[in-house]
Amino acid sequence: MNDGLVGALARIRSESESTRLEAARELRENASSLSAEAQVEVGAAFAKEDVPWVRGVLAEILALGVGELEEPTAIAAPRWDEEIEGADPEVARQAVNVSTNRVLHEVAAVVGRARVAAAEDFADFRGSETERQLQFLSDVCDGLRVLASATGNPQVEEFDLRAELIALADRVSGNLEIPVPIRVEGPGPVFMVRSDRTLLDLTIRNLLANAAEATESLGTPEERAVTLTWGISGDSIQISIIDRGPGPPPFLATRSRVGVSTKIGHPGYGLATASEAMRSLGGEVFIRRNDRGGATALIRWPEEPSA
């Protein structure tokens, strides 16, 4: 990395807003030349930056420059087929898909009927432990449905990623019990991509939910804020979800067998499913610890040529 960029990295910590903006723009121009360490620096600057337009440029750098992130800086998210040792990944994906669909078809209707019958049979069903356990069974079915979708064949179409992410952020925000501002910052006003909206939706929804959950114990809305950015790096489209929480979840560091350690309701379940969804698109999910705290979830997948 040349001296100019080293200087720019120093200046993004300047107290002068205009100096920081100028430095950030210089770094953005050379995002592809930034080392992994430099990107950590940018991430740290982003985490403490309060001026929206400087934050916007830094967010773009983060979205553009994640191509060089590798372990140990970034940890690949768990996958469902990790416990099938030596299996062909494509065969494993199909096996997960077929078996999940089959189980779902057999079980879902029974769960639905049991829920209705229990409500009829027991006068005090509402709020009972029976209701909670049946609800949990139903949630398992929902989880299997998402997994079946994640391992299915992608359905690619052309759409505006920016508009999709804005709408998705609104939907996720609307469903949170504790308000977490989700800032959507990236190139626009239109950012057309060819991909599978459903798979992207479920991936980002899971990662956003994890990020929001990680920050909900923080005090102010500003501290809880999660940033969603996107961009292109080389032949890949990349999306970053950056939070100021405690960092990557501990299970990522300790996990061995996803099928054993990851349960429905546990964040790792959603992460594994998100990972499967991106793998169906030929992409990946990484989680990394930010230098000044918090975690960044990175997803990237190869850009498809326009139709």
Partner: protein, 473 residues
């Protein structure tokens, strides 16, 4: 009390079907519940009957003999439901439900005011089978809200309205904040549609407005509404009733076009003709000619083939299906005036006020046509409209019809000669040449072959007579 909510459940698992029926409809007096267990039975039910709600599984066998369920069968039925009953809510209840599939269903589903509450309700909902309680809740809510709609009182003439037609009027009445509606008959139209006057009464029996309601098959209602939107600025001032709103959902396969009720309409032109009020009918024709003049004046001429003109009325395959041999058309070219036309100007689409003052309704066929179309349709529909059958006794004899172009012969014994003359003068004046008049009569008469309940002998006589003259000329 007869159940008012008609529900079709498409589910191949008998145990599941029983559970759904018991949970959704604890009171069988409120819901007419039907179950179809395979694709063929479901398709027959969807095509033959009207429903207020569909619940559809996705993995279904194609028919009673082929037991292997396939998701494609459920998707096919869903598409059929949306095509035939786009205003009826459809709930997908499936054990599968890949998220891609769910997104597709949501994309298809619009929303509409189903109960006249000025609130949009989703027309398509997807429930995973494990979430049967949510589906049950949605069904029960729909049944309850439908019951409230049916509580709106309709009084007045006994029009023999179906439950769906009544519901379309009730939904409109509720949107207007009325508590009851009084209906008065005009006449029935060609395509199974019904046109009537609706007088709404609000709380304390206050006047809540009047409207002309045209009830019809939802697909046709939607087409007419879309057509109106395109041509509204070009409608002749003072002659056209303006469309106020459209009931597109909540009434099964039926819908309603609600037109303004600017005057006290006393009937239709068809009614005048059936009553033999020739002078009045002729005056109406004259007023229509004057009113539509802006469409005709200065319109350009164009040379078209007879086959081209006839195909606007009836296709080759339509005639083949009716067993009619198509005469030689391709060597006959006709110079026509190219203009805007109402396209379906029969006597039931002309409301009458103040004795002879016409107002046009039904704009489903408005568009470019040749200038003789409207006056020829006006004249000949008095013979061929199914609800006019027998109105003129034995007139005209087929031999007279064959000489349709020769008015002296044709009018012998005619109970409405002034009306026929008024239409014919209009058609002659509007046409580029006599051949346009003949070609239009030929085409209109050929069109009658595709309808089951028209006088084919008379129609063929007119068609052959006109064609003979065209071929000779």
């Amino acid at each position: 009390m007869n159940p008012s909510c008609r529900l079709l459940l498409i589910e191949d698992d008998a145990r599941e079907a029983r559970a759904i029926e018991r949970a959704c409809c604890p009171d069988p007096t409120k819901v007419a519940f039907e179950i179809a267990s395979n694709g063929a039975d479901a398709e027959e039910a969807i095509r033959e009957h009207d429903y207020d709600l569909f619940i559809c599984d996705l993995a279904l066998p194609a028919n009673a003999r082929h037991g292997d369920p396939a998701i494609e069968e459920g998707k096919r039925l869903f598409a059929l439901i949306r095509e035939r009953s786009p205003g009826t809510p459809a709930y997908i209840l499936s054990g599968h439900g890949d998220l891609h599939m769910m997104r597709e269903f949501f994309k298809l589903g619009a929303s509409a005011d189903l109960y006249g509450t000025k609130t949009e309700e989703a027309l398509v909902q997807f429930f995973p089978k494990n979430d049967l309680p949510a589906c049950v809740e949605a069904v029960q809510a729909h049944v309850a809200k439908t019951e409230v709609v049916d509580g709106f009182r309709l009084e007045g003439d006994d029009l023999g309205l179906s439950l769906s037609d009544q519901r379309a009027l009730k939904i409109y009445g509720r949107i207007q904040g009325a508590e009851r509606g009084i209906t008065r008959a005009f006449d029935s139209g060609l395509s199974g549609s019904k046109t009537l006057a609706l007088h709404l009464r609000g709380p304390g029996d206050t006047d809540a407005g009047k409207a002309v309601a045209k009830l019809g098959d939802l697909v046709r209602v939607a087409r007419e509404a879309d057509s109106y939107e395109q041509i509204a600025p070009r409608l002749p001032w003072g002659l056209a009733a303006h469309l106020l709103t459209v009931v597109r959902a909540g009434a099964g396969s039926r819908g309603a076009l609600i037109y303004e009720y600017a005057h006290e309409y006393t009937g239709t032109l068809a009614g005048l003709l059936a009553a033999g009020e020739d002078a009045a009918a002729a005056h109406v024709a004259l007023r229509l000619r004057e009113g539509l003049r802006p469409w005709f004046d200065g319109a350009p001429e164009q040379l078209v083939g007879l086959d081209q003109l006839r195909r606007r009325f009836v296709s080759d395959s339509g005639l083949h299906e009716a067993g009619i041999e198509i005469p030689v058309e391709r060597d006959i070219d006709v110079r026509v005036v190219k203009t805007m036309a109402h396209g379906d100007l029969h006597g039931f689409n002309v409301l009458i006020k103040d004795g002879t003052d016409p107002t046009l309704i039904d704009y489903g066929e408005v568009g470019e046509a040749n200038a003789a179309l409207d006056p020829v349709t006006l004249e000949l529909s008095a013979l061929f409209h199914p609800h006019m059958a027998g109105a003129f006794g034995d007139w005209p004899e087929p031999t007279q019809a064959a000489g349709w172009a020769d008015l002296d012969t044709y009018l012998d014994g005619c109970p409405v000669p002034e009306f026929v003359c008024a239409c014919r003068e209009w058609a002659t004046a509007a046409s580029a040449e006599d051949e346009e008049l003949l070609a239009t009569a030929y085409s209109y008469a050929m069109r009658q072959m595709k309808y089951p309940d028209t006088n084919k002998e008379l129609a063929l006589a007119i068609a052959n007579g006109a064609h003979g003259k065209l071929a000779r000329d």
